[in-house]
């Protein structure tokens, strides 16, 4: 499956900005099942300085600075990505969740250090006992880890209402848990905190989701958005991605861009400006399937 993806981020400022610095994580990652064949960024105005580096999670980061007065700024990423089918392990055949959690109690084997960093609290997510209580019904004694995860995903999907007006980027998890409303970011965060509260590693994945037009309708261009889901660790297999917003394991519809402990590690475009007064951000994403 191939996709041509356009991701447009436009800032408009009420007063001119003297200096702006941005860090973007927009390049789709190369994974076992995904190859980013083409990637390019274009800007308006052109930055005075751009640099690239790979962050500690392996995401490619582009940094760009504009050092002259500007009243707006637009960055557009265009990528071409090929996906191959994901081979999912049979949930029933995965190890008991308790055995997985035990691997991440000290001392941790050296080959598990990478997943191990996703078992602790992270900048936006401090898992506490309420998340454990929420998770517990899914984690019955001796249940295979992926079966428990699938159940957790099902429960989030069933018990929570998708409501873009209910939360903002900084709504704490406790509120999401209390109101049972939110967007994909909230559901991903809730699932991650629940897994960590059970002693299991979990990562935040940012990316895109192919949207399918209703039967008989044409695909609308530019109405897609960035999406977020969760990756959990299955010993002997590796990371398995699931999407609690849509209650599914990820498939050929999910394009991975960046990985981290929570949203703060993978924010697609983050900027700090000097001056600028009030500002607005417009984001447009288009995910076009290509045969």
């Amino acid at each position: 499956m191939n996709y041509r993806i356009t991701h447009r981020t436009k800032y408009v400022y009420s007063e001119p900005v003297a200096v702006s610095h941005h860090a973007a994580r927009l390049r789709p990652r190369d994974t076992d099942t995904q190859v980013c064949r083409e990637f390019g960024l274009s800007f308006d105005p052109e930055p005075d300085l751009t640099t690239q580096h790979t962050d500690s999670f392996g995401n490619q980061v582009s940094c760009f600075s504009i050092q002259k007065l500007h009243a707006r700024f637009e960055v557009v990423s265009r990528s071409f990505v090929s996906l191959t089918s994901v081979l999912q392990p049979d949930p029933a055949q995965t190890p008991a969740w308790e055995d997985v959690a035990a691997l991440f109690r000290d001392p941790v084997a050296v080959d598990l250090l990478d997943p191990c960093q996703f078992v602790f609290r992270s900048p936006l997510l401090v898992h506490e006992m309420p998340q454990r209580e929420f998770a517990l019904p899914s984690f019955k004694k001796g249940r295979p880890v992926l079966a428990a995860v699938a159940d957790l995903s099902r429960r989030i999907h069933r018990e929570f209402v998708f409501d873009p007006r209910a939360t903002t980027i900084s709504t704490p998890l406790s509120e999401v848990l209390a109101n049972k409303r939110g967007v994909c970011q909230d559901f991903a965060h809730l699932a991650i905190a629940s897994l960590r509260a059970m002693g299991l590693p979990a990562r935040y994945v940012s990316g895109y989701l192919r949207t399918r037009p209703p039967p008989g309708k044409a695909r609308l261009v530019g109405v897609d958005a960035s999406h977020a889901w969760v990756s959990c660790f299955v010993p002997g297999f590796g990371w398995v991605d699931f999407d609690p917003t849509n209650d599914c394991f990820t498939s050929l519809d999910h394009i991975t861009v960046a990985l981290g402990r929570d949203f703060s590690d993978v924010s697609p475009v983050r900027g700090i400006i000097t001056g600028g007064g009030k500002h607005s951000v417009i984001v447009g994403v288009d995910v076009e399937p290509v045969e």
């Binding site: 191990c116 900048p123 949207t211 977020a228 700090i272 600028g276």
Partner: protein, 864 residues
Amino acid sequence: MIFRTQNSTSTASAAARAAASCADLAGVKGHYDELRDPAGKVMAHYEALIADLKKRDALGVKRLSDTARRLLSERGVSFNVYSAKGGMDTPWMMDPVPFVISAKEWEGIEKALIQRATLLNAILVDSYGPQQLIKRGDLPAALVLAQPAYLRPCHGIPVPGEKPLQVYGADIARSPDGQWWVIADRTQIPTGAGYALENRLITSRLLPEVFRDARVRRLAGFFRQMQQSLAALAPRRVEEPRVVLLTPGPYNETYFEQAYLARYLGYTLVEGEDLTVRDDRVYLKTLSGLEAVDVILRRVDDDFCDPLELRNDSMLGVPGLVRAVRAGNVALANALGSGLAEAPAMMAFLPGLCRKLLNEDLLMPSVATWWCGQETPMREVEQRISSLVLKSAFRVRGREVHFGGNLSAAEHAALLERMRFAPDRWTAQEQITFSTAPTWEDGKLVHKPVSVRVYLVATQDGYMVMPGALTRVAPSLDSPLVSMQKGGSSKDTWVLSDGPVENVTLLSATRTPVELRRVGHNLGSRVANHLFWLGRYAERAESTARLLRSTLLRCSPESGMSETPLLLPLLEALRSLVIIEEVPSATLLAAQQEQIEARLLQAIFDADHPSSIRSNVAHIQRIGVLLRDRISVDTWRVISQLSDALDAADNSASVTPMSDALNVLTRIILELASFHGLAKENMTRAQGWMFLDMGHRIERTVYISELLLAGLRSADAENPSLLEAILEVGDSTITYRNRYSLLPQLAAVYDLLMLDELNPRGLRFQFQRIEGHFRHLPREQNSALLTPAMRVLIENSTRLQLCDPTELARVEPGQWSATQVAKLLQQLIDAMPQLSDALTAGYFAHSTISSSGDVAPADPAPPR
């Protein structure tokens, strides 16, 4: 209770008792006694000090402690300075009796702490590099990966000389058996070295003889090493690298210390917004443009240092800083992320790590520590919980501390449940019963528990220990914590020397001949702005005080308002300067005397009145705080006395409020005169002085013009008594009498207060000064054409110059505002905001930074 005399029932004089107290001061059971050996003999290293104290009677020792308090307050030494309501706040507490450590004892401490600094540095280098320690299992993975202080964006960034730990502070304390223990490590921002220096300065003044004779080691060498070490970090190979001290700002609890250290070390004190990153380099915004910065000594928490790549919920830092560090264009001390090594949990692993990394045994033990993330220690902690202190394993904001022994059964159970939920977040430590040292309290010497913070700085081949320390004194024997925030005090720490004491000064560090220069670094824009406003507020306070004083003098009850015609023009002047709100008509004046008096008093004392003297003084002090590293101790003293003058208002019945107010005003005027005098005599005529003086002159122009405009509008303008009052407000009476033997005449007054370029109170003088300064400003110098501000200046200055005083004084028919003189004055008044705006736009403009917003993934409602 500690102070026991053999004859405690005696009613002998306090003097005799205090003298005896030194000899009889007994230790406290269960604590190590720093003063005496077990046989009760004063330790050799305390002898000289005790002998000196013995020579003083109780009053003498009290005097020491009073002097200490006075010096600290005059020097403005404070801890958590500046609350929103304008107070200068918690003064720094220092006990005049120093803590003394023998040369031999110190040798051991020194060796142990150098080893520890080396070890902690090695842990940092590994954690931000190969991570062998966690890979080999020498350190639990959580001690790096779970730490909020582990800054992932900084992983893999090479650090100059592999020394992320440039400055290190260790809190040490002594248990009852005489053993020293490390109770806390400070690897991120070791605060307090500046307070240690300040304590030394004052204690050496209080006890000069014994300080000299006891061979106390000096501190300056340590700070000189710090200058050299930081300079050596500079990535650019330049003769004199630019080092700045990055402060979170005046609301930070140790802001005083930061300003003090910056001044002492010769660094520019900067806030995040003073710096900018261009082309991956850090620059300081100065009046002449951007200046490259090589090294940043930071007092901003590392996760706040760059909102772009680190936490973005605080704007204290410098966006792009991590990139500049990654590009190798700037060095930070301590390196970003160095807080990782100071986690309390780390202490549990130091003995093993020391053997692994340094092949040595740890010389000074840490207080016994268990990290609960491991099963066996956790079980041990559960069993011994009532004798332990439970705290966060890692340094996090708002971390908790629980004393196991103080917990109720319910609290105990709740805490255990939380610990079992996330054991890796918890650490347990034993409590050490601190040793006690003699301390002066409430008129007697008593024993108080102490802990000592020792400072180290990196050198080329290791670490150097400051031969002295910040000793902190717990408020009471049973107080489990030593904290300056919770009522603790501090002491100077005397490390004695076996040999002669080295004398070092921070200056003259090299033998190469100094390259002479006449200018300092370019002034930072923010500092220029503060100086400009300091000048304005100081002049505003003075002019207001003068005008109010002359007004009060003329509405005293004795004059029975007989001077009404004189009073009215002065009140008008006050009104046009927005110092009072309204002026009654002439006929009502006598009837409203009380209200007028009340309003005048408000204009002096009322803190809520925006242009009262008190408000102006508050502004002066607020700016003074911001300029702590720039203004002399004497100037600071004058500034703090301004509010003393206002607070000293005598409320006793023998003094009427009006005559008391007159005294206050006179004192204010004199304090401000010394402020201006100090500025004039102490500041080199460089950029800083220019901005202070421009503020001063612009404000004075407004005041004199408003005074003349409002005061001479009256039909009585020719009245010699009124003119006398005007001359008095303008402080030109003497000059006038000197020149004219006649009663004041209008033309002569105009000449003196407007046109005479030699009268420092005259308008023309102000214009000449402002113009002179403007010509030296970088932008004006670089501009081929006249800048708009310069145009305004020349235009008005010429207008003044061309005036003929006799012309101005000619009575013109019609409206006052249409007269030549009124029009001229109004033009001058209008010109001032233009000048001020030009300065703001050209030199002070600095914008704040903000996040342009993360965009949350907001997927379209998925089809269900």
